[in-house]
């Protein structure tokens, strides 16, 4: 990865995109990087598109990532992954939750939901790690763990050791609810394993 690392996290309002980016930022800060984080989230709590951008390196000026500038795309929803594909730089990597959130316009039959967004992304020549983080989180008994599952999955795609991110996740959730630490540790590892497995299968 280049001297500055650009990460774009995308999803749907309410999925925890911003919290995840915040935790990634905390990990980068703990390593002494200059960090900037911003989001595009008009009325974000209400099921709209959410993207959150994270840049870290020696010195960060503009907080914004342009098309073709992201090293890593972390997508919490598969149609959103496709929507933001053009932000990836050549050789960049996308991490995609294959879970779908169908919006009202699709429900009403006004627009189709893209058929197999992950396949489409691969056909565009992108490197995609795809897995069903939502199901893993539900399997662990808490859909809100999806956040941590995604972070675990991204942890081996970052320019720093996975343990740094794990510590940031546990610090964040442990501070709020100590009883959630174990569940988050499990979710983090489940995410890591899922991507490792997916990489082998691909």
């Amino acid at each position: 990865m280049s001297q500055i690392t650009n990460i774009l996290v995308c999803g749907v309002g309410g999925q925890g995109v911003m919290t995840a980016t915040e935790i990634l930022a905390e990990a980068a800060i703990s390593l002494g990087f200059d960090v900037k984080k911003t989001e595009v989230a008009g009325m974000s709590q209400r099921g709209g598109v959410v993207t959150s951008q994270l840049r870290f390196g020696k010195e960060i000026r503009s907080p914004q990532i342009g098309p073709g500038e992201a090293d890593l795309l972390v997508a919490f929803e598969s149609a959103e992954a496709l929507r933001w594909s053009h932000m990836l730089k050549p050789g960049g990597v996308a991490l995609v939750n294959t879970g779908c959130i169908v919006p009202p316009v699709v429900n009403l039959g006004l627009f189709p939901y893209p058929e197999d967004p992950v396949d489409k992304m691969r056909a565009l020549g992108l490197t995609v790690h795809a897995f069903d983080a939502t199901s893993i989180a539900l399997g662990l008994g808490n859909i809100r763990l999806g956040n941590t599952v995604m972070l675990g999955a991204s942890s081996d795609l970052l320019p720093f050791p996975a343990g740094v991110l794990r510590d940031a996740v546990l610090a964040r959730f442990g501070a709020r609810k100590p009883q959630l630490v174990e569940a988050n540790r499990e979710a983090f590892e489940a995410g890591r394993k899922a991507v490792a497995g997916e990489a082998v299968a691909a």
Binding site: V12, G13, E22, A25, E26, D34, V35, K36, K37, T38, E39, V40, A41, G42, M43, Q45, R46, G47, G48, V49, I60, R61, S62, P63, Q64, G66, P67, G68, E69, A79, E80, L82, R83, S85, H86, M87, L88, K89, V102, P103, P104, V105, V106, N107, L108, G109, L110, F111, P112, Y113, P114, P117, K120, L124, G125, L126, L138, G141, I143, R144
Partner: protein, 620 residues
Amino acid sequence: MPVSQTLPAPARLFLSGNDAVARAVWEAGTRVAAAYPGTPSTEIVEVLSRYLDLYTEWSINEKVALEVALGASMVGARAFCAMKHVGLNVASDALMTMTVTGTEGGLVIAVADDVGMSSSQNEQDSRYWGRFAHVPVLEPSDSQEAYSMTLAAFELSERFRVPVILRLTTRICHVKGLVQTGSRIEVEPAGFVKDPRHWVMVPGNAKPRLPKMLERDAALRAETEVSPLNEVIEGSDRRIGFVTSGAAFMHVRDAFPDAPVFKLGLSCPAPIERLRAFAASVDALLVVEETEPLIETELKAAGIACHGKDVLPRLHELVPDVLKPAVARLQGEVVEPPEHVAAQQVFPRPPTMCVACPHLGVYYTLSQMRNIIISGDIGCYTLGAGHPWNALDTCISMGASMGTALGMDKGRGAADANKKIVAVIGDSTFMHMGMQGLLDITWNRGNVTVLLLDNRAVGMTGGQDNPGTGRDIHGEERSRVDFAQLCEALGVRRERIHVVDPYQLPVLFKTIREETKIEEPSVIITNRPCVLIDDYKPTQPYMVQEDRCTGCGNCVEVGCPAIHVTRRDKVVKASGKEVDLSFVRIETSACTGCGLCVQPCAPEAIQHAAPVQTLQFIRK
């Protein structure tokens, strides 16, 4: 639920621009801070409310917030208020006079422009207010500067006895960066000095103050020429020099790291002579400003040649990938945009109302009515304009639903003679600016049915309290407005005021239909809380019994995001008419059991489901 005070000691903290402003306001020894919530400014006073050694409040609108701050300044206290760009339009009446009186205790007004329009009805450049109101404008370009310029703004305000505008934009407010912070200083207010010539702005007192204002302008012009808030960042490539401020400064530095840059921190009044010298030191000058060509025009008026909006877009953010090609064109070069795959076409995903939102029933009902004009307002319920309801015909500004509806009623011709006119407004918006409009409706006997959607929160900005919730900014119990009584006091006859449960669709439908028939002002108040606040209590969720579902799609029309179409079909009726069918499923883990979708389902296919364990995690 008062929040305890646990403030981090001076350190390097990762703060948003809004957090940074709040921290600096607190450190500056400010005693009073007021705001009406508005994206992207909301968090400033929200964060300040946790700092218990100053008074904070949610005011009912921005004008009142500014007046509260001015009162504090009059007694010598440092005071602060925050608003979004459109809020300053509301507050401008007070601003235009306090610029004549001047201030005592430092008074800083943070105004957040929504450049790029993430959630506003317009994109407007508040830097104009600085010129219009004769007040200085400071423009931070990241969190660290948001912090340091807030402190500088208080000093400037006290030195020149003038309110200072701290102009923020979305990319300052909502960008997080590292900030070196300090500790709070205590500033003891000097006390109020009775002096009508200073504070009572009748013509006889105001007139002698106008020349003082012009003297102050001259002093500020001298200040801006020497102020360290304005600075030149040298660069080795002198083919082009940039004049810029705010978030655009960071974009310029990112895109052109070797170019000289004149960074405007105190941008109003503009340091024209320093800019003239800078212009002479570079081959060409480009003004990069969000959003209006304001400095550009001032430079040209001063006879300084420059480029600006001739090569740059007039609207939205000036990010590096917008700047690079524009500058290349100016220099006669071609730059290739960075290589990337083409943008993919995916369905639009606009924000939508929440699962079980109490507004769902209202808009579903309105969408079922014919011959109706719906005058809308600013808030979550503006989303009624979207699918599937398409039940909003206008939306202008806070409280405008009232006057607009009255105007439609009075101005209508034969074409609209039989239409029913409905105005929809939320509780907080009603108190912000709607009450006056309703008074105008009753006084002038407008034939308007007002739907007052009381969801006991400022829903759009995250559920802040207001006089209708009976709680203050700290969650402490306060007097609570009775909307029915308030509307009666505003002239609506008691018989024409109804309080209805928005989850009871037949009652809602009947009430709206009857009230729109009666030719006098009426108000229908809904009484369910926003699903995102603590007052909302979810109950047992529902599920669809597949063998009973006929695919009529009625429940989909309600618009609840928990209802998903699983299969579509077409059938040809005996009459030869083709009918689209939508078979559905309810996302049980998201459903809160409001029961709205149950009501339009004729075959009673929607039945209670077993409560699911995940429910509690989906809602906060």
